[in-house]
């Protein structure tokens, strides 16, 4: 039981890191970036190539993945989403879905359809015994990474000038512009942070589940999106709680109910939560004063 719980929290931590990208971009740009899941896949491939073909050590490979994905996030936003800033949300949504397929097919062209076996970065480290359960190193790294990212992002958005400006932009772009905040820069920065985090999630995911394909990012992407909605889209702590709960539900369902039904159960729980709390667990019910 404890082992399942820890595995659930670990998988949930990866979902949470991905969900942050969805939730932050939604908060700022009010759009669902469905290409976000595929940035995870790109992160996986970049770190894979850095280690296997260039022979770089794992930490450098991770940095390379973060760098490439950050740039990719900024470029995708500039080329695909920025021209649609004034368009209807449906047009942006369709563009995001198109971007998702574009990235998958680009990966198919570059890296081929054959699954790649992702190297285990922690092969020299033994699984740890914890209260009678065996916990893999990647599980611990995922949980710790998630905690660090959450704390860092919370400090960033509440203590720094740029972070506060980000919250201001997410509430009211026009008013933020009047304050002298560069809204376009803030949106770029959000995409950069979200995509950089997706790269980290990609490496963790591929280490935990070492099969890398062009479609590797889609299912975790959808689940992390679910986690973001579950926790309350737009909320940073919501992404964390939503991600971790989703991970626990998924692993427990897989262990005790049925591995085929696990995904159905995950999405079923989402539907139930949304019936009773349409804005998600920590979603804001905003009351406007006139």
């Amino acid at each position: 039981m404890l082992a399942h719980l820890i595995n659930g929290i670990s998988l949930g931590s990866i979902y949470a890191i991905i969900a942050l990208g969805y939730t932050m971009v939604y908060g700022i740009a009010k759009m669902l970036n469905f290409a976000h899941g595929d940035v995870i896949m790109v992160g996986g491939y970049v770190s894979f190539c850095s280690m296997m073909y260039l022979g770089l050590p794992a930490p450098v490979a991770i940095l390379a993945a973060v760098f490439v994905c950050t740039v990719l996030g900024i470029v995708v936003e500039r080329l695909a989403y920025k021209p649609l800033r004034a368009a209807t949300s449906l047009a942006v949504l369709i563009t995001a879905i198109g971007m998702s397929y574009f990235l998958q097919n680009a990966a198919l062209l570059i890296w081929g359809a054959n699954p790649k076996a992702f190297p285990n970065m922690f092969k020299n480290i033994e699984a740890i015994e914890f209260a009678g359960a065996r916990v893999s190193p990647v599980a611990i790294v995922s949980i710790v990474a998630n905690l660090i990212i959450m704390i860092a992002l919370t400090l960033f958005t509440t203590r720094t000038k740029v972070g506060k400006a980000m919250r201001a932009v997410s509430e009211d772009k026009g008013a933020a512009t009047l304050m002298g905040i560069n809204v376009n820069f803030t949106i770029s920065l959000t995409f950069a942070i979200g995509s950089g985090l997706a790269a980290i999630a990609g490496v963790l995911l591929c280490t935990a589940y070492p099969t890398l394909m062009p479609t590797t990012g889609s299912m975790p992407g959808i689940k992390a999106f679910t986690a973001a909605v579950f926790g309350g889209i737009g909320s940073i702590p919501g992404a964390m709680i939503g991600g971790i709960l989703l991970g626990i539900i998924e692993i427990l369902a897989r262990a005790y109910i049925s591995s085929e039904l696990a995904d159905a159960i995950v999405f079923g729980v989402l539907i139930v939560v949304l019936i009773f709390r349409p804005t998600g667990l920590l979603g804001k019910q905003v009351h406007e004063k006139v």
Partner: protein
């Protein structure tokens, strides 16, 4: 008197709708100038155009003798003018203090505490509620916060869009007293109001807007006694 703001022949469109049709006006240093008019006359559109949120298709806007048409919207505030927008638009999920800090976004951090103190002198209520979320403030307090936030950039020209909207009469009086105090302290004021009575009573000069055009102008006093203005905006 030096001209602070000069707009000439402004034409602004919302898509194909011609909202502002050749508006020209001036604001002199130290003045309170008001634009009055009915709903949809183009008052807010004019102000938002000066503030950089909208682009005129034609015309020119000069601030302190320098054209601000090519200036990026988020850089207009650093030129020395601030717009306190219609409906207040405070950042509801940010604290009062954070809202004020955002107002000083373009200014060096070292100068912020001093300006903050000055703003709190004008609006002691804001200091009491410094750490409260702006969304929990009353309407009057939110208006004060919006004005305080605009003041944080230390503007030489402050533009106010409907500061009295939705406020109880006693609060309206208070807001207008503060506007006059700010003006006495050296800030030039461009005021857009539907409450023409109040606006004209404190304004040095006024322009009357009707469907995107200026139809009348004069001192506040003159317009208060002008028959056509009385009929249209002051209830006879």
């Amino acid at each position: 008197m030096n001209t602070v703001l000069k707009c000439e022949n402004l034409h602004v469109y919302y898509g194909s709708i011609h909202a502002i049709k050749g508006v020209s006006f001036e604001v002199g240093e130290g003045e309170i100038v008001t634009l009055i008019g009915a709903n949809g006359a183009g008052k807010s559109t004019t102000l938002n155009t000066v503030g950089g949120l909208l682009r005129p298709r034609e015309g020119m806007i000069e601030f302190e003798g320098k054209s601000i048409l090519g200036v990026a919207p988020h850089k207009v505030v650093s030129e020395g003018m601030a717009l306190c927008p219609e409906g207040r638009r405070v950042f509801a999920q940010l604290s009062v203090k954070e809202n004020l800090e955002m107002g000083a976004y373009t200014r060096p951090a070292s100068e912020i505490p001093e300006t903050l103190e000055k703003v709190y002198e004008h609006f002691p209520r804001l200091k009491e509620r410094e750490n409260q979320m702006a969304g929990t403030l009353s309407g009057g307090e939110q208006q004060m916060l919006a004005m305080g936030r605009a003041l944080m950039s230390k503007p030489r020209l402050m533009m106010l869009d409907e500061p009295s909207m939705g406020l109880a009469p006693i609060l309206v009086d208070q807001i207008f007293e503060i506007i006059q105090a700010l003006n006495k302290a050296g800030t030039t004021i461009l005021l857009v109001e539907q409450n023409a009575q109040m606006a004209l009573s404190i304004a040095d000069r006024a322009y009357v807007l009707e469907t995107g055009r200026i139809v009348n102008t004069g001192t506040g006093k003159d317009l208060l006694n002008d028959d056509s203005v009385r009929k249209a905006y002051l209830g006879g």
